[in-house]
């Protein structure tokens, strides 16, 4: 008998997008409310793992053709570069800056250099979680 995962697949499709959106929200909210790169990254990883678990590895690999090893390096590079950025202005490594800007229609927005740093963390966390799990999952022996 062919097993049918219709329910699982349908729900996963919806739920994973909700979780992914929530993860992005957590990432951006991080500076002033609970959240941040680490939690957001784990949440995103959880959502992607849900996809991998309910569908199968090969399908999702086609949908998400990411090289997670590369993303680890990319995330670290982003984090280090934001750190180096402050050295150009003569401050210590990883000094973060912030300021408030008026943007039309949105209102006052705080922009910080901590955000790209957090983005680096976010990417690394997603990538290491998935890389570890996928590597073990793909191990056939």
């Amino acid at each position: 008998m062919r097993t049918n995962f219709l329910m699982l697949h349908t729900i996963t499709r919806i739920v994973s997008f909700i979780v992914i959106s929530f993860s992005v929200y957590l990432f951006f909210a991080g500076h002033n409310a609970p959240g941040g790169g680490f939690i957001g990254g784990l949440m995103m990883a959880g959502a992607l793992i849900l996809l991998y678990v309910s569908f199968d590895l090969t399908t999702i690999k086609k949908v998400l053709p990411f090289d997670y090893t590369f993303i680890i390096g990319l995330g670290l590079l982003i984090a280090i570069l934001t750190g180096l950025n402050s050295m150009i202005f003569g401050d210590a490594f990883l000094t973060q800056y912030f300021d408030y800007y008026q943007i039309p229609f949105i209102g006052e927005v705080e922009l910080t250099t901590a955000l790209p740093f957090d983005l680096g963390i976010y990417l690394v966390v997603i990538a290491i979680t998935l890389l570890t799990i996928l590597t073990i999952a793909e191990d056939v022996s």
């Binding site: 609970p34 570890t132 999952a137």
Partner: protein, 807 residues
């Protein structure tokens, strides 16, 4: 930044561009792009030579690097630095030119590697001699070791190259490390890393017990680098490097870094009796050992390597002797006491010229005949006339024959040794006599190996069957550099005072600054004929004794001594290396059992022992059960669930139950975070638990059945004690911290974060602000560790060992 900073940095900048030159202009030999750099630097440095016999005014220029630790990139150019910078860039130019013809631009020849390493060395060496700050000097010093090792291993497919590279690396870096310790002691004593400030403070710190330790440690660094006995064994094995490298690093410049350091430190340590005797004894031992060992070499480069060792010992002993002048103070600035310093500086220059040319000549012979074995060579005089002439000049100079520069410096060496032997300080009146004796004996052997190289290579009958290729004279390009150096040998031999006024006097000024008053300088006049005196008799004696030994060499070669070409000290090094490897294997196997349980035990023991010891040591146990908030009923329930699930864990034999119990523990802890109003932690904990569930699902099929293991009684007891002590420690620490907080008015660090997270970092979520801003570096390094761990998982799973490999 001054121009002098760029003198040291320019080679590094050039090195970055090398790959572009190599890959974009594949047809042109990369060396041509490198060649202008040392030439320009050499010409620029020449402008610093003081004009018209004036004393040299040192140039000092500082750029802060790590100001909080007193580390500045300070360039300091005085006579000594200038001499070395000129040697590095001058010989560097000739070596690069020579290498263009020596290493052909064939397909697959990694020329870019060669020139990147060579430029890295050049910059590092210039950095060593130009920097006034000891830490900067140390960094450049280690870079020269690294570059040297990489250059030795340039043809890394050869086993011997790798062996030599490793050996030179291990020995020189160990010495460098010891030197760093010595520098740190000097910093402790003077509070400065600046050499000039240390020299100024030398008088006040010389009584400290650390002072002699610092001297010994620094000397280990200098001796390893300058291949002094018993550390010299790396130099003969370094001869596996391409010959331009041997000519440049391993005879003219890098091995003289130790001499530079000793000369530089003479004003600091020169007043110590130990300084004089250590330098003289080790220098003379090296001189004798090197020259005796050189005699029995069959490889021309090996012969030159031991000859270099011996000449380095000669200069080292001269530097030791020159420190004797400091005991006479300013009054004794007459030639009698300063001859040793003069001889050291003069011989250093001469050695660079004649040994550089000889190495290049040997390279030519190797290149054109395909062998460097003196048992095969012979009769090259007529076939390679130009090479022969240059060698003759170089060898005669090395043997100390007039009218070449080697004769002059050998004469001053004899004069210095006789002068020192006649002094009445430092116990010299009783022990001094052996200095000229040793000097003379070593010079005899020097003469002998020069004769061997000459006779065995160039005279005799030419046997074409010994060579794999057709032997002919080298192309002009290869000959230019040795001819220039040979020309300098003659020029400095004929007109030594060209050097005296321009560079020798300022250099002596930097070695012995204490003997001069402001504005004064040394007066040096070198000439050939001093009349019939002890020195000329010694030289004549050397020639006769050397000739006698050479003529009877056939008999000597039958002896046991002669048949051992390798230095016996190599056995010590080899066995040390072997024991290091086997020893570390034993240590690793003893602790790395491969069982997670053992590692947990190690960590638990360490943490609880360290913590408990600290608590006992500072008597910090405190229990204060007052000031408690009432505990709500649900907390008892949560804690009870946590306790029960934890206690149940060891008794469960079903793996699924096991996993579920661990999950319960995790989720209850997340609940605790919620209760204590830590939403970030609770969220993280929940997510981690979720991911862990997936991980467990994945690895579940790999896990073995839980078997009833027969654990020994004592092992169980140890585990129980370890587990209990961790628990006791955590509870005690928690109680004590609580008591301390209410007892004393310690402000917890969280107050700072609460107050400042919005004003300083613009964030209302304190946890996140700490993560990305206040403690951003921690976070960065943590994710770095996580990344490495993930890559390890990939390595372990995808490239796993099959079971028959060893660590």
């Amino acid at each position: 930044m001054s121009t002098l900073h760029f003198v040291a940095l320019a080679p590094f900048i050039m090195a970055v561009l090398i790959p572009v030159f190599y890959f974009k202009f594949r047809k042109i030999h990369t060396g041509w792009f490198v060649l202008p750099l040392p030439l320009v630097l050499f010409i620029y440095l020449l402008t610093y030579i003081p004009a018209g016999g004036d004393p040299m005014n040192p140039v000092l220029n500082s750029v802060p690097w790590v100001p909080s630790l007193g580390i500045d990139f300070t360039v300091y150019l005085d006579g000594l630095s200038l001499l070395f910078s000129l040697l590095i860039t001058g010989i560097g130019t000739l070596v690069v030119l020579y290498s263009i013809y020596y290493i052909a631009n064939k397909n697959g020849e990694p020329l870019h590697n060669f020139y990147v390493y060579l430029l890295m060395f050049m910059g590092a060496m210039l950095g060593v001699v130009l920097s006034d700050n000891l830490i900067v000097l140390y960094v450049f010093w280690e870079l020269t070791s690294l570059a040297s090792s990489l250059l030795i291993a340039y043809w890394f497919h050869k086993e011997k190259s790798r062996y030599g590279a490793l050996k030179s690396m291990l020995i020189t870096v160990t010495g460098g490390f010891s030197m760093l310790a010595g520098f740190s002691f000097l910093y402790v004593l003077t509070g400065s890393f600046s050499i000039q400030e240390i020299i100024a403070a030398a008088g006040t710190i010389s009584g400290e017990p650390l002072f002699i330790t610092a001297m010994l440690l620094i000397l280990v660094g200098a001796f390893t680098k300058s291949a002094q006995f018993p550390f010299h064994i790396w130099l003969p094995d370094a001869m596996e490097a391409p010959t331009p490298v041997s000519a440049y690093l391993h005879s003219a410049t890098m091995v003289k870094a130790g001499l530079y350091l000793v000369a530089r430190m003479t004003p600091v340590f020169g007043m110590l009796t130990e300084w004089f005797w250590i330098l003289v004894i080790f220098g003379l031992t090296t001189l004798l050992w090197g020259s005796v060992s050189a005699v029995r070499q069959t490889d021309l480069k090996g012969l030159l390597a031991f000859s270099t060792i011996s000449q380095l010992g000669l200069i080292m002993s001269l530097l030791g002797m020159s420190s004797a002048a400091m005991h006479y103070g300013a009054a004794g600035s007459e030639a009698l006491y300063t001859t040793a310093a003069l001889a050291a500086v003069f011989h250093l220059i001469n050695h660079a010229t004649f040994k550089g040319s000889l190495f290049m000549v040997v390279g030519i012979i190797d290149h054109e005949t395909g062998t460097r074995d003196i048992r095969k060579l012979g009769g090259l005089m007529t076939i390679m006339p130009v090479t022969f002439t240059v060698s003759l000049i170089g060898l005669a100079s090395m043997a100390g024959l007039p009218p070449f520069n080697g004769f002059l410096s050998k004469e001053t060496f004899f004069t210095a040794s006789l002068n020192v032997a006649s002094m009445d300080i430092l116990n010299l009146e009783t022990l001094g006599f052996f200095i000229p004796v040793l000097a003379w004996t070593a010079s005899v052997f020097t003469f002998v190996y020069c004769m061997i190289m000459f006779v065995r290579t160039f005279t005799g009958r030419f046997k074409p069957d010994n060579y794999e290729k057709h032997v002919h004279e080298a192309p002009a390009g290869l000959l230019v550099s040795p001819i220039i150096l040979g020309g300098l040998v003659i020029l400095f031999g004929m007109f030594p005072n060209l050097l005296a006024y321009t560079i020798i006097e300022p250099t002596m000024q930097s070695i012995l600054p204490g003997l001069l008053n402001g504005g004064e300088q040394f007066y040096v006049n070198i000439y050939h004929w001093h009349g019939i005196n002890a020195e000329i008799m010694m030289t004549i004696g050397v020639v006769f004794a050397g000739a006698a030994i050479t003529l009877n060499l056939k008999k000597w070669q039958q002896t046991f001594f002669f048949n051992r070409e390798r230095d016996p000290l190599n056995a010590v090094y080899d066995s040390m290396l072997d024991n290091l490897v086997t020893g570390s294997q034993i240590v690793t196997r003893a602790q790395m059992t491969g069982r997670l349980r053992d590692y947990m035990v190690y960590m638990s023991i360490f943490i609880s022992a360290l913590g408990l010891w600290t608590f006992f040591r500072y008597d910090s146990f405190a229990v204060d059960l007052g000031a408690q908030t009432p505990v709500p009923v649900y907390m008892y329930i949560i804690t009870a669930v946590l306790l029960i699930s934890t206690l149940a864990l060891p008794f469960v034999t079903n793996r699924i139950t096991n996993i579920v119990l661990i999950g319960v523990v995790g989720f209850v802890i997340a609940l605790l975070f919620v209760v204590f109003r830590a939403p970030d932690l609770a969220l993280t904990q929940l997510l981690v638990e979720t991911v862990v569930v997936v991980l467990f699902l994945l690895v579940y099929r790999h896990l073995p059945e839980i078997k009833k293991e027969s654990v020994k009684g004592w092992s169980k007891a140890v585990n129980a004690i370890v587990a209990a002590s961790v628990g006791v420690f955590v509870i005690l620490a928690g109680l004590s911290v609580h008591a301390m907080r209410s007892a004393s008015d310690i402000t917890p660090i969280s107050d700072f974060f609460i107050e400042n997270s919005y004003t300083l970092a613009g964030g209302k979520n304190m946890v996140n602000v700490i993560l990305v801003d206040f403690r951003g570096l921690d976070t960065l390094l943590e994710v770095l560790v996580l990344g490495i761990a993930a890559l390890w998982v990939v390595t372990l799973v995808k490239h796993r060992m099959k079971g028959d490999e060893d660590v």
